[in-house]
């Protein structure tokens, strides 16, 4: 799929912008703090209604404005859809995202902070995997919301304690196990889909042979039935009551990434971790294309810095697999194909 044109009003440092990007590669250059990442964020917001940088919508509006509007046209082989999104300020000061999306629109975004998927806390790896699962299986996001609601209520029962706490946990345990295993199942499938792709992509990017192994580490092992999670909750009941929190379940799972048999969190160099993070994002392209019938838009924020020139060429070759790519870079790139754009102070010009 491609973004045919996009129009912004009061989005971050853009007062107004109307832009028709190239249907293939778009290289966005310019000094720091001029709005390169903001533009990527706006493209992502058009496609998904969310920001890949923040969950605080209040950060997005141009300072002092009461409404943000992002409009655009999305193309794929069998048609064109116009998408209108807006952020509006409510009476209580909170911001609400408005507007309907397009069922096949997907964005895969990479940013410098993605290296934390490898060297950060397990929660970041779960978030990463949930993002992939949500792009592959649209019901994942709703199940995740439901799971968090159940978890909060279950923890609340555990914290309150009391003689009948064990009895009161019953109905929450049952839902926790059912929705929890639903999440685990989709995360496992997402891991398997990434595994197939990353074992091909990472060696391509690195330009040398490597073995990458992704494994989903679940608190109930290989079990796939809600009954297994339910039983695990019962086994840990006493400790959970003592600690006042739920200690087994998908909110405690992790993904192990192994590079040539060694844990990449510990043994990978910074360069390797960065390249692995990029490879993890690129590994989403094919599974999403298969699931939605069209290639997602690739948003790469400063993806080439800190990379060797030969690796850089490999990355540029690999991203040709996507239909439309947006790539920010501080200095101009020696590439001929696609559109080149210079960004300066919330404005954009062909370069």
């Amino acid at each position: 799929m491609q973004i045919g044109w996009i129009q912004l009003r009061d989005f971050r440092n853009y007062r107004t912008l109307s832009w028709s990007p190239s249907p293939k590669l778009n290289v966005l250059t310019g000094p720091n703090a001029q709005g390169k990442t903001n533009l990527l964020e706006a493209l992502g917001f058009l496609l998904t209604g969310r920001s890949f940088r923040t969950s605080h919508l209040a950060e997005v509006p141009f300072w002092g404005t009461a409404a943000v509007a992002v409009t655009g046209e999305l193309h794929r082989l069998d048609g064109t859809v116009t998408v209108r999104r807006a952020l509006e300020r409510l009476e209580n000061g909170a911001w609400r995202s408005e507007g309907a999306g397009c069922s096949w629109a997907r964005a895969v975004a990479f940013g410098w902070h993605d290296v934390e998927i490898l060297n950060g806390v397990p929660a970041l790896r779960r978030n990463f995997l949930d993002g992939v699962a949500a792009r592959l299986y649209p019901s994942h996001r709703a199940a995740l919301v439901r799971f968090r609601q159940i978890l909060a209520r279950r923890n609340s029962v555990l914290q309150r304690g009391g003689a009948d706490a064990a009895a009161q946990l019953g109905p929450w345990d049952e839902q926790f196990a059912a929705v929890g295993m639903e999440l685990v199942d989709r995360r496992r499938r997402a891991t398997a889909a990434l595994q197939t792709e990353i074992s091909r992509i990472y060696p391509c990017l690195a330009g040398e042979c490597h073995k990458i192994e992704l494994s989903y580490r679940c608190s109930v092992g290989e079990a796939a039935e809600p009954a297994a999670l339910f039983a695990a909750l019962e086994r840990h009941r006493r400790e959970e009551l003592r600690r006042g929190q739920t200690i087994v379940g998908p909110h405690r799972d992790d993904v192990l990434v192994e590079l040539d048999g060694a844990d990449a969190r510990v043994f990978g160099s910074r360069g390797q971790q960065r390249l692995l993070a990029l490879a993890l994002r690129l590994a989403e392209l094919l599974p999403i294309t298969e699931a939605t019938g069209t290639s997602p838009v690739l948003l790469l924020d400063d993806a080439l810095s800190e990379l060797d020139p030969s690796v850089r060429d490999n990355v540029l070759r690999e991203i040709e697999a996507a239909e439309q790519v947006f790539l920010t870079t501080p200095e101009p790139l020696p590439v001929a194909a696609g559109g080149r754009w210079a960004i300066h102070a919330g404005g954009l010009a062909a370069a």
Binding site: E91, S139, A142, I150, A152, S156, P171, E174
Partner: protein, 201 residues
């Protein structure tokens, strides 16, 4: 709001406590009322007081009523062997509007909600058990709590409690709205509808 005369500020305060009403709406309502004839405003205030004075909970089903037991519990034409359990009186009214259900009701006056500190003892659960115990020959209890996490937990809790009593316990189905399009159904509803599919006879 210091610059409002005291009675105005007090009304704005009071209105703001209502669900779904923010400070701006409360101001708008207050100034609207200020412009209306005194008689109309008095009627409103009397209606507010009357609701509190004359409305009681039916001691059988805990629906709101102006006479106890309520009309539904007294109606001999309704099947006493069928009890539909709902969270709030509003839910009962919604069920009644269908005109399909000819049994009786039991209103829990809430749902299990640990975040608000609402447990089974805060709901009319004991009263439901007492009703079943009273030997009215209940054949089926329909759990019609909301399909959110609280309503689901309440239904699961009640099912566990009622099953040993040898009464048939059912849960209302979740699925697609009639007249809707599959294409526009959200994923969760659609998968629940698929899960609860039925054979066409």
């Amino acid at each position: 709001m210091a610059h409002y005369p005291e009675p105005v500020a007090r009304l704005i305060e009071a209105l703001q406590r209502l669900p779904g009403i923010g400070p701006k709406t409360a101001q708008r309502l207050t100034f609207f009322l200020l412009k209306r004839p005194a008689e109309e405003v008095r009627e409103l205030s009397e209606a507010l007081v009357a609701v509190k004075d004359r409305i009681v909970y039916c001691q059988t089903c805990f629906n709101v009523t102006d006479e106890d037991p309520c009309r539904i519990c007294r109606d001999p034409g309704r099947d006493a062997r069928l009890i539909c359990v709902v969270e709030e009186p509003n839910d009962l009214l919604a069920m009644e509007r269908t005109g399909e259900f000819r049994g009786r009701y039991h209103v829990l006056l809430g749902a299990l909600s640990p975040l608000d500190g609402i447990g089974p003892e805060d709901l009319k659960v004991r009263e439901l058990l007492a009703r079943l115990d009273a030997g009215a020959g209940t054949a089926e209890v329909i759990l019609a709590t909301n399909p959110n996490v609280e309503g689901e937990a309440t239904a699961l809790y009640l099912a566990k409690l009622l099953r040993p009593l040898g009464v048939k316990v059912t849960r209302i189905a979740r699925g697609l709205p009639v007249g809707g399009d599959l294409e526009y159904a959200d994923q969760v509803t659609l998968s629940k509808a698929l899960e609860g599919r039925r054979e066409i006879s």
